[in-house]
Symmetry: C2
Subunit: 150 residues, 2 copies
């Protein structure tokens, strides 16, 4: 599990796309047990006025309607520690592990994931952290709204 | 808090709409502290091939992008005990309470909601339960897929 995983690279690429679109720069990528990318996406709160399309939700949504077996052994890569909603979505679909870019900017439901038997790995990506720091400095209100704080 | 609340009636109405569309018959309605309906919706897994649009998520999505203050004192009405994803969404936006139709068909994240300080009320609606029983009897596979079990 490292920053060189294809899933992590895709998630970071999604986060950068989000930033370029003027959105909250968080990306995610859902990878099946066999390594196939099932879905990838980024936070669309600003772009679509969406209250639910956080990065992990976009990745799940883009993966489409799948049977439970598709998520068996799957990994959710995300550039930031998942919020309570995205944590719950990972629990609902019983992904095997969540690999996150960093949790310095925001610490989400990692404890709850672990309580539910989902492995959590923090790859401590300086690039993910720097991208969030840049965004939050530029648009603190948009960030606080995204995490339900403002 | 009862089955005669406007929010509960709207949620049940959404559940029936979902059934009529051939979908999973679960509805929800988000009501602000002042009684105004912010958003309502129903499960769209089958209709839209969506992995994320459960009833509560649809209600939140239809309410649109709102500041945290809009959710202060808000109530999420839902015809069925919320799954882990919808539970997490209610926690993210810090709704004050969740009023659910029943939890006999499915018991979701009620304990987690309470742990996070959200009031949970079960109105024990025979109508909600009967609607789910009818759907599950007709389409057991679709139901199990919706809760990540098949």
């Amino acid at each position: 599990m490292s920053q060189s995983d294809a899933g992590f690279i895709a998630a970071l690429d999604e986060a950068k796309k989000g930033y370029d679109e003027g959105g909250v720069p968080i990306g995610a990528c859902l990878v099946a047990a066999d390594g196939k990318i099932l879905g990838r996406g980024h936070n669309l709160r600003i772009q679509k006025g969406s209250a639910t399309l956080h990065a992990e939700m976009s990745a799940l949504e883009n993966a489409g309607r799948l049977p439970a077996s598709a998520y068996e052994g799957a990994t959710m890569y995300t550039t930031l520690s998942p919020c309570d909603m995205c944590t719950g979505a990972c629990i609902l679909y019983k992904v095997k592990r969540v690999i996150l870019g960093e949790n310095t900017t925001f610490l989400g439901g990692e404890e709850h994931l672990q309580r539910k038997g989902i492995e959590v790995v923090n790859v401590k990506s300086a690039e993910c952290e720097a991208l969030m720091a840049k965004f939050i400095k530029e648009r603190p209100g948009d960030w606080n709204e995204d995490i339900g704080e403002q």
